[in-house]
């Protein structure tokens, strides 16, 4: 199966495409609705997938790939890791972003968030913390995803995804305790 490439299809005028990848299919529908409701000026197309690769025949243009990871299940993280392999490397120049839910919950193992942070940092991608239980939280994250999407789709003059990602990418602190993790 060939890799998903960002520039295979021609862009349409005033249109932004976002792909939400979530193994559990719990949150992507809610987020998709919130994103579509929020944006009025631009034609936003939200596509949903459980995992990558996408079927070869009907691959649309995708401007931004968002991976939703639920920290309460290991499977969620493993599935995101597996899906990442089906993306072309040029996506990692500012066209990928990670969403994490449940990071506030005290009963979850810290190692999962740590490994996700490392993953996002090595891929130079931003990591957004999300509250998925409240409408307020969903709206906030929809706004943040939209802001990244507008830039990634080239709708913001003078800004590119690569430029934005160099500012927003997740970084792992150079701390002895972090190096201790691996």
């Amino acid at each position: 199966m060939s890799l998903l490439k960002p520039l295979n299809k021609l862009p349409e005028l005033n249109t932004a495409n976002v792909l939400l990848v979530e193994n559990e299919e719990l949150f992507q529908k809610k987020l998709a609705d919130a994103i579509v409701l929020l944006e009025n000026n631009v034609n936003v197309i939200v596509r949903l997938a459980r995992s990558l690769p996408l079927p070869l025949e009907s691959r649309p243009r995708i401007d931004l790939v968002v991976f939703i990871v639920h920290l309460n299940s290991e499977q969620s993280l493993l599935s995101a890791e597996a899906s990442l392999k089906h993306l072309d490397s040029s996506y990692f120049l500012g066209k990928v972003c990670f969403l994490v839910t449940g990071a506030r919950c005290g009963t979850l193992p810290y190692e999962r968030l740590t490994s996700l942070k490392k993953l996002a940092a090595t891929l130079n991608s931003p990591l957004l913390m999300t509250e998925d239980r409240t409408t307020e939280g969903v709206n906030t994250v929809a706004q943040r995803v939209l802001a990244v999407l507008r830039v990634a789709a080239g709708l913001v003059p003078m800004a590119t995804g690569l430029y934005l990602s160099s500012l927003t990418r997740c970084t792992v602190p150079t701390d002895p305790d972090w190096q201790n993790q691996d």
């Binding site: 719990l26 499977q75 493993l78 005290g106 190692e111 701390d175 305790d177």
Partner: protein, 356 residues
């Protein structure tokens, strides 16, 4: 002039040996500790507690020689609800008797608050604080303290002994040495608190501790990584003490929610664990990779039969004959042989919750 000089010099002389007597370990963080203590902040504030990735193999050992068997009998076989406690200010193991009186008076006062006529209430409380000597593993650990509350109902027959209605303990076993040494001298670190008995009494005891020792109690959850550690730790003991069964429980967020209870024959579990240990070369320490490999092996076995990904859910409970642990912080230790290793693991969980 001379007096002024000596006045400025004195504190420096006093603090210098005190500071050098503490060794802060080797991490870069310890530099920060040293700096803040000079600036007058609490030295403990910046000390980092690390999440360990490997541990020594726990060996079942008979602790009845070190610890009074009566004390052990009070701790084992009960289910404890765990909490973490921040360091206690000016707590002394020598003043336990006076604490007993104070807590009894506090409980009685709280119970009588707003009650005009007492009907069928407990008349009085008898509180006993006991130091459980010998549980501490290193010199830096403070000795465990056991608290028992006996109460007598108003209708009890004459001469009837007061019943044990609540018990609890504060413990520290093999705590992080660097953290414990960075503690200011007035503080005692007993980070793990277990309570068994009426919830209302637990709340009262906690509030007494919070008022008296300026500490804070918070709920201690045991996350799935630590439950996995416990499962591996108990399975590893199988050749020495028969664990009879290894029972694991998962909750899977499906519609409707699915609870999976998974019981493994101890011999099978041990053989799987042993093969993983053999593969990584029998070392003295157990790595976190080996533990997760063990759990993944069990998970993939269930997947082969039932097509259920257990990793999509969360591990909520682990139990064997040696004890059981639940995700929401309930633990039962049945065998005194493994008590110290389990308490050491839990102490570590509690220390991770400490303000740093």
């Amino acid at each position: 002039m001379e007096t002024r000089l000596s006045a400025t010099a004195t504190p420096r002389n006093q603090t210098a040996p005190h500071r050098s007597s503490k060794s802060y370990g080797f991490s870069r963080r310890s530099l920060g500790v040293e700096l803040t203590s000079r600036l007058g902040c609490t030295p403990g504030q910046l000390t980092a507690v690390r999440i360990p990735t490997n541990r020594g193999i726990p060996k079942p050992r008979n602790i009845t020689e070190q610890v009074d068997p009566e004390h052990i009998a009070l701790i084992v076989k009960k289910e404890w609800k765990l909490s973490y406690v921040t360091p206690l200010y000016q707590f002394g193991h020598t003043q336990l008797q006076s604490y007993s009186r104070q807590l009894a008076a506090f409980l009685a006062a709280e119970k009588q608050q707003g009650v005009a006529v007492e009907v069928g209430q407990e008349l009085g409380f008898k509180v006993v604080f006991t130091a459980v000597l010998g549980l501490a593993e290193t010199d830096d650990d403070a000795e465990t303290v056991l608290i028992q509350i006996h109460s007598k109902s108003a209708f009890a027959a004459e001469g009837e002994a007061a019943k044990l209605t609540w018990s609890g303990w504060l413990s520290c076993v093999s705590g992080d040495v660097e953290y414990l040494r960075s503690m200011p001298p007035d503080f005692t670190c007993l980070p793990l608190f277990g309570a068994s008995g009426a919830e209302s009494l637990t709340t009262l005891v906690k509030s007494w501790f919070e008022r008296t020792f300026d500490c804070y109690f918070g709920p201690l959850a045991i996350n799935s990584t630590n439950l996995e550690w416990l499962a591996a730790l108990w399975t590893g003991c199988h050749p020495d003490t028969n664990i009879r069964y290894l029972k694991l429980a998962w909750t899977i967020p499906a519609q409707p929610p699915l609870d999976v209870s998974y019981t493994v024959h101890p011999q099978d579990a041990w053989e799987l664990w042993n093969s993983i240990r053999q593969e990584s070369g029998l070392r003295d320490t157990v790595d976190i990779e080996e533990v997760s490999c063990f759990i993944k092996g069990l998970e993939s076995h269930l997947f082969r039969h039932f097509r259920i990904y257990l990793s999509a859910g969360t591990l909520t409970k682990v139990s064997t004959t040696l004890g059981s642990a639940h995700q929401d912080g309930k633990i039962r230790i049945t065998s005194s042989d493994m008590m110290t290793s389990v308490l050491a693991l839990l102490t570590e969980c509690a220390l991770l919750k400490m303000p740093v």
